[in-house]
């Protein structure tokens, strides 16, 4: 199901690919597909609506940056807007602290408590755990077993039903330890007694952090529950668990938005080591079911700064060897062509096999050949005669045939750009360009 969604998202992006101006209808379609992708990842409906509004407005209003096509432009906005939501990294210091765990029943608090204990232990901190779950049978047993495996002291009393007393005693019993993690009973927002209990526990422990544990599969309910927990004890970090399933964790996004905090950890497995610090990029890629968006966003940005290819002049037909040189240089800065193509979420763009390698090595040769040309030759390739070709080839350590091939390539590019200007109303079509490339070999 998710595959078809990200495919339709890719298709929508592909439609934007060929455009030189931002097209309202295409943006609308993209936004619609994006909405569907986010909704099926369990992101809060209202949040999705706000997001898509921001993306639509920015895509249509912001000026298209130089040397960027519409798809990259819109994609970057999508990425930036999503990052804005999850970017607040929750603060995590290696110093003495008390951490209070909160969450719904079955979200994975106890397992996560042990995992966090292990995390701090590996960082060289002295860790202790208090089991304040007096309700679920076997809860103390579970935590004690997990803690015993990693030699972390676990304080608790399976016979007692008074969580407040256990925590008070526990804080005294393991006060010499640096990091104290308090595991609590699962509760939800509509249980006033239990909400009061966690407010009291928060007061007793004077907790440094109050982390909310969220199941990656939690749906629209995430927003509401997170808000209530936040109202009660002031959540300052979110942990997403069970990311090893197929759930996308969109509910956690709602929780983060609701608590204005960041995502601290991601749990993705049943072993005690299966805990990772949050990585915004990986999370968003998974949310949308698409490749590495951040890398793309950054590369496009870099390349923009580096090159000043005059697209306007090119479109008007003033395409010289100098322009082509800059263009090749820009492509080179973005890395091998194949890598760039893979990063672009354009799905099943049909490119003949082997095109990438041949063209990228050729591009290097072309640049060396052009380095051996005079400024006049670069500005007006028409003056290159066979004797000039001889000289250029000698200077670049190549053959006159190579120079001829370069000129043929230049003419083709020139023609392509001119043709595009005429036929498609100024649309720069990468795909057609690539086809011409392959015809060259």
């Amino acid at each position: 199901m998710m595959d078809t969604l990200s495919n339709s998202l890719r298709d929508a992006l592909k439609k934007l690919a060929g455009k030189a101006v931002v097209d309202r209808a295409a943006v609308d379609e993209l936004v619609k597909n994006l909405q569907r992708a986010l909704l099926s990842a369990d992101v809060n409906v209202k949040l999705v609506m706000e997001l898509s509004k921001a993306i639509r407005t920015r895509s249509l209003d912001e000026e298209l940056p130089k040397n960027t096509n519409v798809r990259e432009h819109v994609l970057r906005i999508v990425y930036q807007e999503l990052v804005r939501l999850v970017y607040a990294t929750a603060d995590l210091k290696l110093e003495p602290q008390v951490i209070l765990m909160a969450g719904l029943q079955g979200s994975g608090k106890t397992t996560t408590t042990a995992k966090i204990a292990r995390y701090f232990q590996k960082k060289g901190m002295k860790v202790g755990v208090i089991c304040a779950d007096t309700f679920r049978p076997g809860a103390y047993n579970q935590l004690a077993t997990l803690c015993a495996k990693i030699n972390v002291p676990c304080f608790g009393d399976p016979a007692s039903t008074d969580a407040r007393k256990i925590v008070k005693d526990g804080l005294v019993a393991i006060k010499d330890l640096e990091v104290i993690i308090v595991d609590t009973q699962g509760r939800h927002a509509l249980e006033p007694d239990l909400i009061q209990e966690i407010i009291d526990l928060n007061a007793i422990t004077r907790a440094t952090h109050r982390w909310l544990v969220i199941d990656a599969a939690l749906g629209q309910q995430a927003s509401e529950q997170a808000r209530r927990f936040h109202d009660a004890i002031g959540i300052d970090g979110v942990i997403i668990t069970k990311m090893d399933g197929t759930a996308k964790g969109g509910g956690a996004l709602s929780a983060v938005a609701e608590t204005k905090s960041g995502i601290v950890f991601i749990g993705e497995g049943e072993t005690i080591e299966a805990l990772e610090r949050f990585d915004a990029n990986g999370f968003i890629s998974r949310l949308l079911g698409m490749g590495d968006l951040q890398a793309l966003a950054e590369k496009v940005q870099e390349a923009q700064v580096a090159s000043e290819v005059d697209m306007d002049a090119m479109m008007k037909g003033h395409f010289t060897l100098r322009d082509m040189y800059k263009q090749l240089e820009a492509l080179n800065k973005m890395g091998p062509l194949k890598q760039i193509m893979n990063m672009l979420p354009m799905g099943n763009m049909q490119l003949p096999e082997g095109v990438y390698d041949v063209t990228s090595t050729k591009m290097v040769r072309y640049r060396i050949l052009m380095d051996s040309m005079t400024p006049q030759e670069l500005d007006d390739p028409g003056i290159i005669t066979s004797s000039r070709m001889q000289r250029i080839a000698r200077g670049a350590g190549g053959t006159p045939e190579e120079v001829r091939e370069l000129l043929k390539y230049y003419k083709m590019m020139h023609k392509t750009l001119k043709g595009l200007r005429g036929a498609a109303g100024g649309k720069f079509n990468m795909q057609r360009l690539m086809k011409r490339f392959s015809g060259m070999q």
């Binding site: 719904l104 076997g138 809860a139 579970q142 927002a189 599969a217 090893d244 759930a247 969109g250």
Partner: protein
């Protein structure tokens, strides 16, 4: 549970009713250009209906046709409502299509209530998805004892608690019950089910932590056969459908204990993933019925609709709290009636 969805459905129903009502109001004004579209909707062949035709349609037949355009806006709103209620996206699409089919092209006599038409469409779409329910008591009575019930599901959905609750429920119904502590993986799981069973006075068959769950559950079945116990409730460790080794372990359990019923347990607060994993569990080990837990967390019950639609299996129980009696047999008819409360059809 479901109260949130009910309010939302009520709003959607009013909205749908209103937009159809507008259509009803329109042709009564004697403006030929406005009535044109309605007439052509009914008789697409006649592009230029004569005035007599129009008069016949408007006055003599006094019948209206609901067009797609009339309900589009209201259905868009309903779509958002369903999504907000955690009905998964593909299921929402299917539901909306059903409702649209139930409304568009419907002839409506002037006197007939708009609301009735809308409620009818909603009701049939929901009932189609929720099916007819599942009566566990009747099932046990009509089958050879012991009836073996295997519980499956992902981690943390509440399988162990559900096993205890169903144990208590069946015991109250007068059946004898034995529980197999098949979760030998999670730390504290055997203790957890042990404490529950002790409180309820139910026999538990358990091995040591880390033992082969198939062996535990086989022993539970053996025990039931030897002691003429009515029902075997087999708890298992939570597992993700993405873990092939754990799923094949579950398959082995199924081969060894040969359950009569496989009950898939998921939580009512789960979002879109509910659909993915339910389908995967159904595909690999099968599922005969569903239990939805945590229905008391103010959920709108969307997961019930999503899962039922995806695997087409009946809902057995809803878990509605932490106490043993917090379990409610699921009756689709009652639920739908409650959702569309006061329906006139």
């Amino acid at each position: 549970m479901f109260s949130g969805l009910r309010d939302r459905l009520q709003a959607a129903r009013d909205r749908l009713g209103a937009s159809i009502g507008v259509v009803a109001a329109r042709p009564q004004k004697p403006e030929p250009d406005k009535t044109g579209e309605i007439a052509s909707a009914e008789t697409p062949a006649a592009k230029n209906p004569t005035l007599t035709d129009k008069v016949r349609i408007l006055i003599i037949d006094r019948e209206l046709i609901v067009s797609e355009k009339d309900v589009a806006a209201a259905l868009d709103e309903l779509e958002m409502t369903l999504l907000e209620s955690d009905v998964a996206l593909p299921v929402t699409d299917a539901l909306i299509a059903d409702i649209r089919a139930g409304l568009v092209g419907k002839h409506r006599k002037i006197g007939e209530s708009v609301d009735a038409l809308v409620v009818g469409a909603l009701k049939s779409a929901l009932l189609k998805i929720l099916g007819s329910g599942f009566d566990l008591t009747a099932y046990i009575k009509t089958h050879e004892r012991p009836v073996k019930i295997l519980f499956t599901g992902v981690n943390g959905t509440g399988k162990t608690t559900t096993v205890a609750k169903i144990g208590a429920y069946l015991k109250n119904q007068g059946f004898s019950v034995v529980i197999g502590a098949g979760d030998t993986y999670r730390a504290g799981a055997i203790e957890q089910i042990g404490v529950h069973a002790e409180r309820l006075g139910i026999k538990v068959i358990e091995h040591k932590s880390g033992a082969d769950p198939s062996a535990v559950l086989f022993d539970a079945v053996q025990y039931a056969q030897a002691h003429k116990t009515d029902v075997v409730l087999a708890d298992t460790a939570g597992r993700f459908h993405t873990k092939a080794n754990l799923m094949s372990q579950l398959d082995k359990i199924r081969r060894v204990m040969k359950p009569d019923l496989i009950v898939y347990v998921d939580e009512a607060v789960a979002g879109n993933d509910a659909v993915v994993r339910a389908a995967e569990f159904d595909r690999t080990v099968g599922a005969d019925a569903i239990v939805l837990t945590k229905a008391d967390m103010d959920s709108r019950g969307g997961a019930a609709i999503s899962i039922a639609h995806t695997i087409g299996k009946p809902l057995l129980f809803l878990g509605t709290g932490q106490a043993y009696e917090d379990i409610v047999p699921f009756e689709p008819g009652t639920i739908v009636e409650e959702l569309l409360g006061g329906g006139t059809v």
